[in-house]
């Protein structure tokens, strides 16, 4: 009790001392703690050298107008540079000179303008501290009452509240208005059963009997060409005949394959995937299962495949299992065989979707 009494008097003392700062407490409200840090006010005004010394002021003025003249010179120089250093066809260095000298002129023009303006403001313009008080934003009571009245009158005059059929049909029309946008944007997605996006992601253009061909020439690869330690960047032979308007890049992005030959005894193969390779030659999708970068950094001694984007590593000897990094699945393997003429061919498409995960991937 005594302590309570003590603290009460202390607070009262604080309140009374606070009174000096002009804070008033309404009767019955909670006790407001006083601000621990009193407003220190402005630091004492310190005149600048340009205020005291007319010579310094003259110099600052000279600096400012010199900068503005420099800015004008920079602009004119940029125009001159455009004429003096034209871009000549077949000459890459002319592009460099053109960019460099126009850029220098423009940079000088803008920087001198900006620095001059700031220097003017800092060194020469009026330097007395002042306070702009904020205006109260709340309207007067009569304005507020009038605003409410206006709404009520509008409701009365338009009959918005009374004519419910008109009101409800208006709300319905506003709801219907954005619907065409939904349909129009849906139309941008692939359409028709052939172009089901899930199907597009699940399958590549590889099919049974497709020859493995070099990227980008499309020359098919014989098994004997692939010596131990070799790596071939592979596309389906048919892809090379595809034009860019016929989806060359779309198909290539899914169908790219990396072909490697290891010593057969180095490969550790699952029983059911034993016939997917040919005499130590293995083919894997080049699309990373993380976010789809081309995985092609093959180390021929460690047999590791490294993805350059996020450092996922795959072990080629062990069905490209992930041994490091953020990828979640092994790279899909393309089952290969050799045809009558000794060329490497695909046994089928990839047996799982290539590339990164997507919503409907199972």
């Amino acid at each position: 009790m005594a302590q309570d009494g003590n603290s009460g008097t202390e607070l009262a003392a604080a309140d009374s001392s606070d009174h000096g700062h002009g804070t008033e407490l309404a009767v019955g409200t909670a006790v407001v703690a006083t601000d621990a840090v009193p407003n220190p006010g402005f630091p004492p005004h310190r005149p600048r050298v340009t205020d005291l010394d007319p010579k310094k002021e003259k110099r600052a003025e000279r600096t400012v107008y010199t900068l503005f003249y420099l800015s004008a010179a920079g602009s004119i120089w940029a125009i001159a540079a455009y004429m003096m250093f034209p871009i000549e066809p077949e000459n890459l260095n002319s592009v460099r000179a053109n960019n460099l000298f126009i850029g220098l002129g423009l940079a000088l023009a803008l920087l001198a303008l900006g620095i001059g303006a700031v220097h003017w403001g800092k060194a020469l313009m009026h330097d007395q501290e002042g306070i702009d008080m904020r205006h109260p934003t709340r309207g007067s009571e009569s304005t507020r009452d009038r605003a409410v009245e206006v709404f009520a009158e509008a409701n009365e005059e338009s009959g918005f509240g009374r004519r419910s059929l008109i009101r409800n049909s208006l709300i319905g029309a506003l709801i219907a208005f954005p619907l065409p946008a939904v349909v129009l944007f849906r139309g941008l997605a692939p359409e028709g059963p052939e172009a089901n996006p899930v199907r597009l992601l699940e399958h590549t253009m590889w099919k049974k009997g497709d020859r493995l061909a070099r990227d980008p020439s499309g020359v098919p690869i014989k098994a004997v060409d692939v010596t131990i330690g070799s790596v071939f960047h592979v596309i389906p032979e048919e892809l090379a005949n595809l034009g860019h308007s016929e989806g060359y890049l779309e198909e290539k992005a899914k169908a790219i394959v990396l072909l490697m030959r290891l010593k057969p005894e180095d490969l550790v193969e699952d029983e059911d995937k034993k016939d997917w390779s040919y005499d130590g030659i293995v083919a894997y999708s080049k699309v990373c299962t993380h976010v789809g970068c081309p995985v092609a950094l093959y180390e021929q001694q460690t047999h590791h495949l490294l993805c350059p984007c996020h450092q996922s590593q795959f072990d080629v000897t062990n069905h490209c299992a992930v041994i490091f990094g953020p990828a979640a699945r092994p790279l899909p393997q393309l089952p290969i065989a050799v045809d009558d003429e000794g060329y490497l061919v695909a046994q089928s498409d990839f047996l799982e979707p290539v590339g990164p995960s997507f919503w409907e991937r199972h």
């Binding site: 460099r96 990227d215 060409d225 692939v226 790596v231 081309p294």
Partner: protein
């Protein structure tokens, strides 16, 4: 000796504190002396090797060099040991690349053999290559006509982007691989060594045999590399061609640094 040693601190105490530059000077003198002695020593060994190699150039000479310098790791019959692979059938191109760029003899077992000053003369390298080539068929040193960098640079650049750029960087500036290995920069590499690297697949680099990239394709790749190295970059300074990291770091430090400095200047009070 002992006397001077005990006397010197007393002397310095007499003259007051030792100058702070004295320590620096002492270290500089010591470093210069050590470095000079080392340089002199390594020059003498190098010149000794040169005189020794004056009459080299035969298989027999190569065999002697091999036994003296390589056999401890690769075996006396090139059969390989735990410390080094077999060299039977690697061909003269492989030897010319490994020894001719200084990668061999290996300075230490590690993830990758770095380039270092070449330890043998051209004649000695050739002798070693000839000797190793006699032990089995393998890729040979390419013909001069393929190394003139006078092929189709456009075709070479496309092949480089498909086959090489993922490791060596699209501008040939090199890049990192796994566990301390790296694809070295291709700037300033001799055309003959670029060709030999493609055909032999040194260390962890895959092999690009003539069925994959024909000799003309390899010539075109060398042409493209030399073209990019000999032509200045259009977009200004390339910052080592290391890609977005180097460029991003530059703009973060110097671009944002300049903005911060300007902001500080604008808001600071004028004096």
């Amino acid at each position: 000796m002992f006397r001077t040693h005990t006397r010197s601190p007393r002397q310095s105490r007499n003259t007051g504190r030792r100058s702070p530059l004295a320590t620096t000077a002492l270290i500089a003198v010591g470093l210069l002396f050590t470095g000079g002695a080392y340089a002199a020593f390594s020059t003498t060994t190098a010149s000794a090797e040169t005189s020794h190699a004056a009459s080299a150039g035969t298989v027999e000479e190569g065999k002697k060099l091999f036994q003296a310098n390589c056999a401890s790791c690769h075996g006396l019959a090139l059969q390989g040991t735990d410390d080094g692979p077999s060299l039977i059938g690697v061909g003269s191109a492989s030897v010319d690349f490994q020894v001719g760029t200084g990668r061999m003899p290996l300075q230490a077992q590690g993830p990758q053999a770095p380039v270092k000053p070449v330890q043998f003369t051209d004649e000695q390298v050739r002798a070693l290559a000839e000797y190793v080539a006699t032990t089995g068929p393998g890729p040979s040193i390419p013909d001069e006509s393929l190394l003139q960098a006078d092929g189709d640079a456009a075709n070479g650049a496309e092949l480089f982007r498909v086959n090489c750029a993922m490791c060596h960087n699209v501008a040939g500036a090199g890049g990192a691989l796994t566990e301390g290995k790296y694809a070295p920069a291709l700037t300033g590499v001799e055309p003959v060594h670029i060709y030999e690297a493609m055909v032999t697949g040194p260390q962890n680099m895959p092999v690009f045999n003539d069925a994959n990239l024909s000799p003309e394709d390899k010539r075109d790749i060398i042409t493209a590399l030399k073209f990019t190295q000999e032509n200045s970059t259009v977009g200004g300074h390339a910052l080592g061609s290391l890609g977005p990291v180097a460029e991003g770091l530059f703009i973060w430090i110097f671009g944002l640094g300049a903005i911060v400095a300007l902001t500080v200047w604008i808001t600071a009070r004028s004096n």
